[in-house]
């Protein structure tokens, strides 16, 4: 049984196709990640799946219910942790959870026990009666996540769960997410533009760019499809560069070559055997190699190979403006 099924899902804002004919399935109990740069369509897809936006065309089922025709059923089965913190600052942590529990119709007699339970899980029990305004960014995020969990939804959506947090806090949040997944056995659907996050957490990843899904696979498969090793080298500017590249292409162990103005990236299996061959070719052609390195492929490399560009940096301000402009267009 699939937790999430989409068929040719599309969403346009005027001329802009934010989500362009995407189809994918997420299995029950899986951690599935949407990886893509800002403005790729991750948030829009998530808003459709959480019934906040209606798709322009296509179909989406969450926990077996259609987001268009059975939104209430969908809402009963999901939790949604948004990118921005949505807790009420002047309420205490516990009061925020109480509000969340009531919003999600948790039976009265279970509320106190559930709140204690999640407070324990996210290690905020001792701060539960302090106003949220005194919490740090990481604590607020934990409280947000706890709110999404309280009613034990079948599917929990996490929109960029660690954006804007420092690296230690980010790792801590990952631990909580893993713990939650183990404890409650729910399907997690998260979006992120951090490679490391997707790599650390997800069973499978969908790379999304320009509103389209480029590839869906496990992080491991994605990396090994590229060859097991990445060789980066820089050479002196030379008119023989073309000949050098075409000679490299003839090496069988090299699966893919990416060329930037000042860097050549080779994806290869058995990199240690490839390097001597590269030196052989370069000395034949009289090309000077300035530097060479052999590394394991990362999801960054995978991303570049599928989309042809690097994922953009942590640029949340820019993102918000762009999303805003998108929404404005829809309103007009």
């Amino acid at each position: 049984m699939y937790s999430i099924e989409t068929k040719s899902l599309s969403k346009s804002f005027g001329d802009l196709k934010a989500v362009d004919d995407i189809s994918f399935n997420v299995e029950s109990g899986e951690i599935f990640g949407f990886l893509g740069p800002n403005g790729a369509g991750k948030s829009t897809t998530m808003m459709i799946l959480t019934t906040l936006l209606k798709p322009t065309s296509g179909q989406a089922l969450v926990s077996g219910f259609d987001v268009m025709t059975q939104p209430k059923k969908v809402r009963q089965n999901i939790g949604f942790v948004q990118q921005e913190s949505t807790v009420d600052e002047y309420l205490s942590g516990r009061e925020n959870l109480l509000l969340q529990a009531r919003l999600n119709h948790i039976p009265k007699e279970l509320i106190a026990q559930r709140i204690d339970e999640v407070l324990e899980l996210i290690e905020l029990s001792d701060k539960q009666n302090d106003a949220v305004v005194t919490y740090s960014g990481g604590m607020r995020k934990r409280l947000d996540i706890a709110g999404g969990l309280l009613h034990r939804p079948k599917v929990l959506f996490l929109d960029e769960p660690t954006v804007g947090l420092d690296i230690q806090t980010r790792r801590k949040i990952w631990e909580y997410i893993k713990k939650i997944h183990k404890e409650f056995d729910m399907t997690l659907f998260l979006s992120t533009h951090y490679m490391e996050e997707a790599d650390q957490l997800c069973d499978r990843i969908g790379i999304i760019d320009g509103g389209k899904i480029q590839v869906i696979d496990t992080p491991q498969n994605m990396k090994s499809a590229m060859g097991n090793e990445v060789i980066s080298l820089t050479i002196e500017n030379d008119k023989n560069e073309k000949a050098f590249l075409s000679a490299l292409e003839k090496i069988e162990l090299i699966k893919k070559i990416n060329q930037d103005p000042n860097k050549i990236t080779l994806f290869a299996s058995k990199g240690t055997e490839v390097i001597p061959k590269i030196f052989q070719i370069s000395s034949d052609l009289n090309i000077k190699i300035n530097s060479i390195s052999l590394t394991q492929p990362t999801l960054d490399d995978v991303f570049i190979s599928y989309t042809g560009h690097e994922i953009k940096g942590d640029d949340a301000g820019f993102n918000r403006k762009r999303e805003h402009a998108k929404m404005k267009r829809l309103r007009a």
Binding site: M47, R75, F80, Y90, L103, N104
Partner: protein
């Protein structure tokens, strides 16, 4: 139906919690009506003969105190919906919208909280007016007065929620609200008897629900009815106004929040 009430209460509870935590605002919001009642009430004390000509025995300040109570209710409730804009901006709205509660319960919860807050503010103004010498023939009347203020504020909070749900920015909200609030107050017998208004103004005032709220509260406070408007008619107008606003606010709110912000 049961779950609509439960959900409405959930939102109501949250709004009141937030209000309680921002207590400093309570006093600030009282300053303006207090100035009205103290300054305007005394500025126009010379109009006492005019007031008496339509049947009021007391001082001008006693005549206009009910008007200021309604003024407080109008402005507290018509400003009250502004946090809808914050909720949409900061994600609380999306949180509520992805939970199984119904959309109209969000509007209704907000409105009931606003009207209770407005009534609390109005009761403080009532206290101030008693303190500065307004007398009250029948103290038990405070109960129906508060009931009228709550009911009337519920209608006005509907206006606020409709404007807030439709407006996409703070600027639009405040522009529209100021455009509505002051004329609605001025075009009523809050400061001057209905009988003494020029005919055309009196006719306009009769179309304004504020007029009936003022007349009702004034009748309860001073025991004098005015303008040939019966109590039943006043209550009827207010009830119809409130029902329309509750229905309209739930409808508009539900429609608007389904659009992206």
């Amino acid at each position: 139906m049961n779950s609509l009430m439960y959900d409405t209460y959930t939102i109501f509870w949250r709004e009141l919690k937030r209000y309680k935590k921002s207590r400093s605002g309570v006093l600030i919001r009282l300053i303006q009506p207090a100035i009205w009642i103290i300054v305007v009430g005394n500025t126009f004390s010379g109009t006492q003969p005019l007031i008496q000509s339509v049947g009021f025995e007391g001082k001008y300040i006693e005549f206009m105190a009910p008007g200021v109570i309604i003024l407080t209710a109008i402005f507290t409730s018509i400003f009250g919906g502004v946090n809808t804009l914050w909720d949409r901006r900061y994600g609380f709205m999306n949180k509520a919208l992805t939970s199984p509660i119904s959309r109209s319960s969000i509007a209704l919860g907000k409105m009931s909280a606003i009207s209770l807050i407005a009534a609390m503010q109005a009761s403080l103004i009532l206290g101030i007016s008693l303190a500065i010498g307004v007398t009250f023939p029948n103290p038990i009347m405070i109960v129906p007065i508060m009931a009228i203020v709550i009911l009337f504020s519920l209608g006005f909070s509907g206006i606020s929620v409709v404007v807030a749900a439709t407006a996409k920015s703070q600027e639009t909200f405040w522009g529209v609200i100021n455009f509505l609030g002051m004329p609605l107050f001025m075009l009523s017998p809050a400061l001057f008897p209905l009988e003494l208004l020029p005919d055309w103004l009196a006719s306009v005032a009769r179309l304004n629900p504020v007029t009936y709220a003022v007349l009702l509260v004034r009748e309860m406070m001073t025991g004098v009815s005015e303008g040939g408007v019966s109590t039943i008619l006043s209550i009827g107008v207010i009830v119809v106004f409130v029902l329309i606003m509750v229905g309209l606010a739930s409808y508009v709110f539900t429609r608007e929040v389904n659009k992206p912000f």
